[in-house]
């Protein structure tokens, strides 16, 4: 048998971020504290990207970095906060300053918009949003935000949300082979649909594994290589958040981050020190300290 060549799609984080032109629309993976591509948001900031439109159900530290640093000017999201810790202050300030426009949806609406994009159909029906200001008001999508129609089968009202096919999808996973077959442990959030809906897909991963491992249990593959354009190996790529089975969140760092972002000065201090003040993701990890990072490693059987 003629052996197929295995394409090595690995590039550096800097190279991957360079692929994203100013003004691009991005699906942004991860959910809550789980598997956010935080390293990618920091690299976008270091490269001074501008006018990105970030589409996701909700995200936390990464959204704060992109809002605070001026990387993103538009968001199509359902949620921005640090959950139990409280509000996302950067986002709050930038919205009041009108430097950021947020088009508000619900989590289900966003997940269905990604599903519709992955399926390559123009919309998806959902039974939320109706009768609220989420339906009535729009920041920038105007009459393309959603439609409420009378269902042609039942005659009842139903919401249609427009599908999203962003320029790029950015997700962070546990393991990947060099050609792009990716495994995700724990919950998938909206990353199955999100990884399929983008015109290009960049997958960050905690570690690279051999293709043999993938082909030994193909039903564990959550993102097949055929969707993947670039692979970026970024250990601790979600720090200070968590990656199931790999490491827990760094609560101390997270609380420090959240506290600093309460003021613009505090945010600028964090930004200069932890993002602009480091050359790359590994320099950031060095700054956080490997003793700290190692102490966050997940323990069996908990996964955190």
């Amino acid at each position: 048998m003629t052996e197929p060549e295995i394409e090595d799609k690995r590039i550096t984080l800097a190279e991957a971020a360079k692929e994203v032109p100013d003004g691009s629309t991005l699906f942004w993976g991860g959910f809550g504290y789980q598997r956010p591509p935080i390293a990618f948001s920091a690299e976008l900031a270091r490269q001074k990207k501008r006018n990105l439109n970030i589409c996701t159900c909700g995200s936390e530290v990464d959204i704060e970095i992109m809002a605070g640093s001026g990387v993103a000017s538009r968001f199509e999201i359902a949620f921005a906060a640090i959950e139990a810790l409280g509000l996302s202050y950067n986002m709050r300030r930038r919205v009041v300053e009108k430097k950021i426009q947020v088009e508000d949806y619900s989590n289900l609406a966003m997940a269905m918009r990604f599903l519709g994009g992955a399926l390559n159909v123009p919309f998806m029906p959902i039974r939320s949003l109706m009768a609220t200001d989420l339906e009535r008001l729009s920041r920038f999508r105007d009459d393309k935000k959603l439609k409420v129609i009378d269902c042609p089968f039942t005659g009842k009202k139903i919401t249609l949300v427009p599908s999203l096919q962003p320029d790029f999808s950015i997700v962070h996973v546990q393991r990947i082979d060099k050609s792009g077959n990716a495994q995700i442990d724990g919950i998938v959030g909206e990353d199955i649909e999100g990884s399929r809906c983008g015109k290009k897909l960049i997958v960050l991963a905690e570690e690279v594994i051999d293709e043999k491992e993938i082909r030994h249990r193909p039903d564990q593959t959550k993102i097949p290589a055929m969707y993947v354009d670039h692979v970026v190996i970024t250990p601790f790529g979600s720090h200070p958040m968590q990656v199931h089975g790999y490491y827990d969140y760094d609560l101390e760092h997270l609380m420090m981050f959240h506290k600093l972002t309460q003021t613009e000065d505090g945010w600028q201090e964090y930004f200069e020190h932890y993002i602009m003040g480091v050359e790359d993701h590994f320099a950031y990890l060095d700054k956080v300290g490997w003793d700290r990072l190692m102490s966050l490693r997940a323990r069996e059987p908990w996964g955190y």
Binding site: Y33, A84, S106, L108, M130, L134
Partner: protein, 274 residues
């Protein structure tokens, strides 16, 4: 996400400035009584989770606790900080994703009870978790809907938990994020919502429910130390006040003890009690 509380959320839910732990305990204990055994419960992080876990440890051992991030029948042994926290994973019976929980389960009509907080509520139980100020010139950007609008649209019953601040109980919302009973009787039916809308509002001053005729907010019980007049003085809409207002029962020592066992680090309850 979506169950995150009011803008000054950290007062009630945050880990940084947790002074009024006894109010949190009170809210969680009352909220837990509204969960019935065997129900499918959408529990976010924070108070809803604490209330649901407390119910599971006391009168409702067979509830199925679901986190919108994808965890089903979760049994966390440490309190999670995020709906997606791995602390929800171990011991759950399934860990999938958003289309499963918000689509198949919630929109599928399978959630008996969901919890929501809000920065503003109106007299029909409609909720604002998005903006304070006008939409064009917001003064505060709040977390947004998250799954809140979905939960309010499709859960059979909705339990609303809020800290009691007069400015939150408004005649007109600055922004309507999640549907309560909308404009009253018939409104939800007009839109064919899957769920039934709000059942109860729990604050640190009282419990309120909804008058079945008008679907407007009605005082249900006042907490020890408060009167109906206190509540009337602390809402900006026309509250329905029945003749007899019972006093809300106090949490039991067992409930308090269980909550502290669930949150040994005082993440939600604060450390003052140690």
């Amino acid at each position: 996400m979506g169950q995150t509380d009011e803008p000054e959320g950290q007062r009630a839910l945050g880990v940084l400035t947790m002074e009024k732990f006894s109010r949190i305990e009170f809210l969680a204990a009352i909220a837990s009584t509204h969960v019935r055994d065997g129900e499918n419960v959408f529990g976010g992080t924070g108070l809803p989770l604490l209330a649901a876990l407390l119910a599971k440890e006391t009168h409702a051992p067979n509830i199925n606790l679901i986190s919108e991030a994808g965890f089903i029948d979760a049994r966390p042994v440490e309190v999670p900080l995020s709906v997606a926290d791995t602390r929800y994973y171990y011991g759950s019976s399934a860990s999938i994703g958003l289309i499963e929980t918000l689509g198949f389960i919630l929109q599928g009509g399978r959630i008996d009870v969901g919890f929501l907080g809000a920065a503003q509520i109106d007299e029909y139980g409609n909720l604002n978790t998005s903006y304070i100020g006008t939409y064009d010139n917001p003064k505060v950007k709040l977390p947004g809907s998250g799954g809140g609008n979905d939960i309010a649209s499709s859960a059979k019953r909705l339990i609303i938990i809020m800290t009691h601040d007069k400015r939150k109980f408004v005649k007109k919302l600055d922004y309507m994020t999640s549907p309560g009973h909308l404009q009253g009787p018939g409104s939800r039916e007009e839109w064919s919502f899957v769920g039934g809308g709000p059942e109860v509002v729990i604050t640190d001053m009282c419990q309120m429910d909804f008058d079945p005729e008008t679907l407007r907010i009605r005082l249900k019980s006042v907490h020890p130390g408060y009167t109906a007049q206190d509540v009337l003085d602390n809402v900006m809409f026309d509250l329905i006040v029945p003749d007899d207002i019972p006093t809300t029962p106090l949490p039991t020592a067992e409930q308090i003890e269980i909550m502290h066992r669930l949150d040994p680090k005082g993440i939600y309850l604060g450390k003052g009690n140690e």
